[in-house]
């Protein structure tokens, strides 16, 4: 049970402020000063959460963040299924990220689709010393020979590439010409660039702009006839099938989805996106860049939406429909009405089991705010949240549309802070990533991975919400959490070895 129950907002705020003061005490002075800017208690009515973000992580504190390569290869490019993404550099980066993100797709893997494969240049010492450009050229030849049905190649730079001065752009151009204008995209997403995955998203977006959009022949015959209802789903990685359970709703309301970025996406869909009448943007953090570019260059409006939980889904369907005529607006109402009985049944089943339960979140760049509505639909309350790699505009959206007064906010949280916060606040559920999962489960706190959906999903759309509700119930109400303390021991109270 959460300790927040029955506490007034003022009491919660005071406790949270005290907690922040406490965790800062562990740091050397210089570090405490820097970390203080990333921790806050949200004040209702403020336009942002009052924390600094998108700044360098501090060495040695156990940040949860990844790198630019993870943002480009792992997030943006990796799911494009008919292209081959080469992890260019040593073997590890590609190995650790191999098929780990659950970007679902259909196809014949190894023949015409390649998402769950690990292509690497496996750099050796001689490649570092003499450069890897010749090897890269040869790799492209070998890819062409052994995987002739690939529609394109991307080169995902790992740290050494930028440090040894390789010219992957030149290799890409030469090889593209050699293979009749084949799409070959060099991506400068070396892991040391920027402060987190976030810059990798941006670099990957820019690479689409420069190496795909700018190379599409404007006079080429279109693959399909445009309609006034063509939209593109931007920023949905189809984790556990999220984009599919979203697409089905958009199609049911009368729209036509011409592209998915990038879950279950293809090169042809990327190329066709400038034909969309509207870009609908789920993960703002990772794909706002390309949406803005398409608005500027092609005049395509974009619209953020949220497909977590029935309240936000209905709001989003209406918002998307507002860009179209009455036919689509009616379609949105029809879809909302169609699924209402399902949503009522899901909530009737699960809300009584979850009512009043508290949640603490720490996820990437979207979900720390986006899933709050879904929890609220189930009667749950998010009492703490923070972004691994959000920017100020994410915290603005969070403050203005999502979090309640007194919510504890932690940006780029450190392992130590997160443990301390959870230990003291004692939420009923923590939602974060694989590195955090077992820490909190050991403490006896129910946990769901909110990057991979803990191998479940989809969570998007109406179909997904039923799964989300089931999973949260399954986590919180598992009988195992009553057994963490041996019956001959005192009542449980998690503690931290490291801090003692």
């Amino acid at each position: 049970m959460s300790r927040t129950t029955n506490q007034s907002v003022a009491e919660i705020k005071a406790r949270n402020k005290q907690l922040i003061d406490e965790v800062l005490k562990v740091y050397p002075e210089k570090t405490a000063k820097r970390r203080a800017k990333h921790l806050n208690v949200h004040e209702a009515g403020k336009s942002d959460c009052g924390v600094k973000s998108n700044l360098k992580s501090i060495p040695g504190v156990m940040t949860i963040r990844g790198c630019a390569y993870a943002g480009s290869k792992g997030v943006v490019w990796g799911p494009i299924k008919d292209m081959i993404h080469i992890s260019h550099g040593p073997v590890g980066c590609g190995q650790y990220s191999w098929a780990a993100r659950r970007n679902y797709y259909t196809g014949t893997t190894g023949i015409d689709t390649f998402v769950t494969m690990q292509f690497t240049s496996d750099f050796q010492e001689k490649d570092i010393v003499f450069g890897g450009d010749k090897k890269l050229a040869k790799i492209i030849d070998e890819v062409q020979e052994l995987f002739p049905l690939n529609h394109g190649i991307t080169i995902q730079s790992e740290c050494p590439i930028g440090l040894i001065g390789d010219d992957i752009e030149a290799v890409s151009k030469v090889k593209s010409t050699e293979y009749d204008g084949k799409t070959i995209v060099p991506v400068r997403c070396e892991g040391f660039r920027g402060v987190s995955q976030s810059l990798g998203h941006h670099i990957a977006n820019d690479a689409v702009r420069d190496w795909i959009f700018d190379k599409v022949n404007p006079d080429a015959k279109p693959a399909f006839e445009s309609t006034p209802y063509d939209v593109a789903i931007i920023g949905d990685y189809n984790i556990g099938g999220d984009a599919w359970s979203s697409r089905i709703l958009l199609e049911e309301m009368g729209l036509r989805v011409i592209a998915q970025w990038s879950g279950d996406g293809s090169l042809a869909e990327l190329e066709a996106t400038p034909k969309a009448k509207l870009n609908v943007l789920h993960c703002y953090r990772s794909m706002n860049y390309i949406s803005r570019h398409m608005e500027e260059k092609f005049g395509i409006p974009w619209c953020e939406y949220n497909f977590f939980g029935p309240s936000k889904i209905a709001e989003s369907l209406r918002k998307i429909a507002s860009f179209f005529d009455d036919k689509i607006k009616e379609g949105a109402e029809r879809v909302i009405a169609k699924y209402q009985p399902l949503m009522d049944a899901v909530i009737a089943k699960y809300r009584p089991r979850l009512e009043g339960k508290t949640v603490m979140l720490f996820v990437g760049g979207l979900r720390p705010r986006h899933v709050i509505g879904a929890y609220e639909d189930l009667g749950m309350e998010v009492v703490g949240t923070g972004y691994e790699f959000g920017h100020n505009d994410d915290y603005q959206r969070t403050a203005q549309h999502y979090v309640k007064d007194g919510t504890l906010i932690y940006d780029d949280v450190t392992g130590y802070e997160f443990e301390r916060f959870v230990e003291n606040i004692q939420p009923d559920l923590v939602g974060s990533g694989i590195k955090e999962k077992y820490v909190f489960q050991k403490m006896g706190v129910p946990f769901r991975q909110m990057h991979s959906w803990d191998y479940s999903g989809p969570y998007h759309g109406y179909d997904g919400f039923a799964i989300f509700a089931r999973d949260m119930d399954m986590a919180i109400n598992s009988p195992i959490w009553k057994k963490t303390k041996a019956p001959w021991k005192d009542a449980p109270r998690p503690s931290l070895m490291a801090a003692e």
Binding site: G92, L149, F192, V346, T484
Partner: protein, 514 residues
Amino acid sequence: MTQNAEHVLDHFELFRGPEYQQMLANKKALFENPQDPAEVERIREWAKTPEYREKNFAREALTVNPAKACQPLGAVFVAVGFEGTLPFVHGSQGCVAYYRSHLSRHFKEPSSCVSSSMTEDAAVFGGLNNMIDGLANTYNMYKPKMIAVSTTCMAEVIGDDLNAFIKTTKEKGSVPAEYDVPFAHTPAFVGSHVTGYDNALKGILEHFWDGKAGTAPKLERKENGKINFIGGFDGYTVGNIREIKRIFELMGIEYTILADNSDVFDTPTDGEFRMYDGGTTLEDAANAIHAKATISMQQYCTEKTLPFIEGHGHEVAAFNHPVGVSATDEFLMTLSRITGKPIAKALEQERGRLVDAMADSSAHIHGKKFAIYGDPDLCYGLAAFLLELGAEPTHVLSTNGNKAWAEKMEGLFASSPFGKNCHAYPGKDLWHMRSLLFTEPVDFLIGNTYGKYLERDTGTPLIRIGFPVFDRHHHHRYPVWGYQGGMSVLVKILDKIFDEVDKTRTDYSFDIIR
């Protein structure tokens, strides 16, 4: 609409329904610029041919689905095996997020490790300031007894000098001068995770034995008759190390397990998060110099460490991930010879039980063909076990195995009539394995989780033994070493064989007794 609240459908069922299938078919036909299905089929068949295999094996630059990771992973694996030790990886921070995730996904356990979070400015000016701040933060926040430093390829490419950096860091007061900060350079572009294991362990022993980077007198060895034991990089470390301790105790041998991470990767859920648990004490790590002998269970994980130890006067012995009767015999006889202690009666009985089990079941394994891939030592150990079961380890492939390993494997094959048509493939990857399985099919495949793609594509049933195993739970808790470990490997293999024959579903051959 197929979803319903009473029986919630998730991805397993939901997307197989007609609504979604129709939606996906439309998406493909209209927007994906799909390849002609006949052409997909043609290439799919072509990729199974000897001609494709030839092109595939002619690859010189591209690696596809390798079965190896990079050095720092091994270094982190070693570091957490010491009491209260936090691994500190100097370089880019994303790497550390990857190692932690990788280890957590295999062991279903927390994995604690910090990074010096170097970015562009550090690439230009070096990462000294990151280390100065980083060590101070780690020391204050997580209060480790020791911080073991290794490197990512970024720090290696720009040439950061760990020895000098740590010295400076101590001068700056980040950690006390006498505080233990062993280090190892672990470039990701050399070797693999097993190399990183080797370098990190050597770095820690060098630190304690050879004067803590010039800050303390070198230890002088006074032999105490104890045995040091090194497990190597091992996905079964939890079950294996516990089994080895049991064996040592049964034989009354005094021992030190070096890099004992069997507890930190198997902590209880009892309301308390243990960032550190168990591990080789720092005192034992230092005193390990006085041991009579050091035994490595994995030759290729200790190629530098073992000669270093030998150089300090130890007798050393290396094995190749011993699995089964003869390999365990050899291990125990070596222990007995070195220590002068007889092999325990209880172990003799366990041996007899394993032989008994193999005799009971050998008819079902005899003559079956297997493909194996994994780390070089594991491949050797498993192949040797299959040979003594009368099975044929037809293809044995190790991405991080070298020429010397291949020669050793060929020697093993030559030692048995069942090894006649078996071959070792050093430095090859799982795309090569795919061609092998299509052109020279075998009955079963042994490998890690990634083998499931090969199982799906080639129809070769996969027996999951190796690292990482992400998609099956808890196998790391059981040993594969010792006679008891051999028993669990045997049962794993048999279960798969029987499950496969029961897929016949006919009335004949669907036997109730076997």
